[in-house]
């Protein structure tokens, strides 16, 4: 067992699960989508991205690009949220839908990442 692989897999899967947790629920209802969940998803995603730096293989490159897509989508969602909800305003339902759908896109990218991780592991055959 390789500790580096454990940490790598842990962060990639955690990024996906946190993302999923934020995404799931009624899209227009802020009750289902807590800001801390988004925060945690962004932080874990960023760490996962950095962990993927410096891998020269083809699969490493795809790994990095899926992560970058997820980062981009989640950070966009956070920026939209922050710009609308300044100083205690509640978020309108329409904006909430777009925030959640952005995170939904990031979730897809994270799923791709996990699929890649599994494919890579299966191809290893040992």
């Amino acid at each position: 067992m390789n500790l580096e692989k454990v940490v790598f897999g842990f962060f990639i899967v955690l990024a996906m699960t946190l993302n999923f947790g934020f995404f799931i629920g009624d899209m227009a209802d802020p009750e289902f989508h807590h800001p801390y969940e988004l925060f945690a998803a962004i932080v874990v995603n960023l760490i996962a991205t950095v962990l993927k730096f410096g891998d020269r293989t083809q699969i490493g490159a795809i790994h990095l690009s899926t992560s970058l897509v997820a980062d981009l989508q989640l950070i966009t969602a956070a920026v939209v949220w922050a710009s609308v909800s300044g100083m205690g305003n509640t978020v309108p339902a329409g904006i909430m839908v777009s925030i959640v759908s952005l995170s939904g896109g990031a979730f897809l990218a994270n799923v791709t990442s996990v699929v890649l991780l599994i494919v890579e592991t299966i191809m290893l055959r040992r």
Binding site: Y36, L38, F39, G54, A82
Partner: protein
């Protein structure tokens, strides 16, 4: 570029993760700390506000307590996060700076820049390995002819010197060991535009390694190699190195040429010089008895060539056993006793050819004291002794560097030039003298440019078109000035190759044929004027018939009508 980016990213992993985690902890903490807003109501930061505060705190900008004055809990957390995030930032910045100064990384950047500069050369170029005395001379001469050069050199000092030189076009140079195949690949030995490589380092083994690597990676690339040892030369020849240059052997040949055929020697020097240089007046070595001091590689070559020209030679050598010398006078030659024994009184010339500069100078000075009429040939080994040799001013000073550079130029300018020189060596001295006077008359007394023209569709489309229509074009056409056909360009045709035949000094009235290869020499201006005739049909027809061709449909139609009218 990719590998460097990946290297940086890989090294930045730990600092970046530290930064992300410290930010996350600080932001999370701020949103949890209880505070009050301006009117005293309970308030805690949103994630965005916390990110804002942490951002300006971590980067030590410090806007203060925004949007409301902090509560004690918030201040406590602020204190903690200052130490956490600021330290993380400094750590990351320190890492970036140390990465930028990493010698390995800098070397990687230099290599990549060099490789990119080579890839961006969009014209044919040569690689010169070793920017020493020979290399710098060759680079300068090639640059002056307008041929691009890439240089590899192992010493950074020499690279700095190259960068300070004022060349017409930039010379990409890399400080690296050319024995490494990877370095040669970066220098572009696999690029289609690379026309040849000259291995001129002062280490025979390095030259050998370069030749082997090039012949394995790109067997079609012509290789010029400097080799001072016979074994290395034989080794290089065994795997097909095109040109092996042995400076001692070459000097022996040159000296022999100078002794028995001054004209041929002058011709050789003239055509392989740096264009624009004026030719120094040649020394004329006398015939008679020669004393050769030092029977090493240089001495052996000199003796062999002198004896081939029926000169009597007396050898003076300090170590006859090591050098394999059978009939010689034992001694260094620096003391008058040995020289007298060798018969210095009735000798016409002396060759001071040991591998020690001071000994050589001492030999020459002693010899001149005994017999002031001696013709002195002296061998210079070390560059730093140049002022001594300049001061001594021997009849001929042998610089290996000059000789190699001249020979390289002959091969690099055009393979035809090397062939011409070989053919010229077989001609009489009389012939060479006549050619020289003819050349001086037409191209002046400075070293001319030499170039080859191939009559193919790619290089001379206009001429090929005319020849294809069965028109007769004579060689003299190519010697006319395209701007004024009654004038002649300062050009001398040296050699014409047709299939397997080589015609030395072709006659101007000769008819040209498709696929002819012609070697010209002439002034630089003439070299740039001539291609106009080969490429442009209108210019060619003007030079041939004195007619300006009509251009455009209307004019062509009008001219055709005119000629039809005037015919009946």
């Amino acid at each position: 570029m990719n590998s460097i980016l990946f290297l940086i990213l890989r090294r930045m992993r730990v600092p970046l993760i530290t930064l992300i985690v410290s930010y996350a902890v600080a932001i999370l903490g701020f949103t949890l700390m209880p505070g009050t807003d301006g009117s005293g109501k309970p308030w805690s930061m949103s994630l965005f506000e916390a990110f804002y505060v942490v951002s300006y705190t971590a980067t030590t900008i410090g806007f203060g307590e925004i949007p409301y004055a902090f509560s004690t809990a918030q201040r406590l957390w602020m204190t903690f996060s200052i130490y956490l995030t600021v330290i993380a930032w400094f750590y990351a910045i320190g890492k970036i700076i140390s990465l930028a100064q990493d010698p390995g990384l800098r070397q990687a950047v230099t290599v990549l820049r060099f490789a990119r500069a080579v890839r961006q050369l969009h014209e044919p170029y040569y690689i010169v390995c070793g920017y020493g005395g020979t290399g710098s001379l060759l680079v300068e001469a090639l640059d002056r002819i307008g041929i691009r050069v890439v240089s590899l050199e192992i010493s950074q000092d020499r690279i700095n010197e190259l960068e300070l030189q004022d060349y017409q076009s930039p010379v990409p140079a890399l400080c690296a060991d050319a024995r490494m195949p990877e370095v040669l690949l970066h220098a572009g030995i696999q690029q289609p535009l690379c026309k040849g490589i000259a291995a001129l380092t002062d280490d025979d083994h390095a030259n050998l390694a370069i030749a082997v690597a090039v012949k394995l990676i790109n067997p079609d690339l012509p290789v010029l190699c400097r080799a001072e040892n016979q074994e290395t030369a034989a080794n290089m020849a065994s795997f097909g190195t095109e040109h092996i240059i042995n400076p001692y052997e070459l000097f022996g040949e040159h000296l022999a040429m100078e002794v028995h055929a001054l004209g041929s020697y002058l011709l050789h020097e003239w055509l392989t010089g740096t264009p624009g240089d004026s030719l120094p007046s040649p020394a004329c070595p006398p015939s008679g008895k020669w004393i050769v001091c030092g029977f090493g590689r240089f001495g052996k070559a000199v003796v062999r060539n002198l004896e081939r020209n029926n000169m009597q030679t007396v050898i003076v050598e300090a170590d006859p056993v090591l050098t394999g010398c059978e009939h010689c006078i034992v001694g260094s030659g620096a003391e008058s006793r040995t020289l007298l024994e060798a018969g210095i009184k009735d000798a016409v010339g002396i060759v001071a050819g040991t591998d020690n500069d001071i000994n050589n100078l001492s030999i020459a000075m002693t010899a001149l004291e005994i017999n002031p009429d001696l013709f002195v040939v002296i061998r210079k080994n070390k560059r730093y002794n140049a002022p001594l040799f300049e001061h001594f001013n021997a009849d001929i000073t042998m610089h290996p560097t000059d000789i190699i550079a001249h020979e390289c130029l002959a091969h690099l300018i055009s393979p035809m030039l090397a062939q011409f020189l070989t053919l010229a060596r077989g001609q009489s001295n009389q012939w060479a003298n006549e050619l020289i006077s003819a050349m001086v008359e037409r191209v002046g007394e400075t070293v001319p440019e030499t170039w080859a023209v191939t009559l193919t569709g790619d290089h001379a489309p206009a001429l090929i078109n005319l020849l294809g229509h069965g028109k007769t074009v004579r060689l003299e056409t190519l010697l006319r000035n395209p701007a004024n056909r009654s004038e002649e360009l300062p050009i001398v045709p040296l050699l014409l190759q047709r299939e397997k035949d080589s015609i030395l000094l072709p006659d101007a009235s000769m008819q040209l044929m498709i696929d002819d290869r012609i070697l010209f020499c002439g002034k630089p201006g003439a070299k740039s004027a001539q291609p106009l005739m080969l490429i442009n049909r209108k210019v060619l027809s003007y030079v041939l018939d004195g007619m300006d061709m009509p251009d455009g449909l209307v004019w062509r139609w009008l001219t055709n009508r005119q000629t039809e009218k005037s015919r009946p």
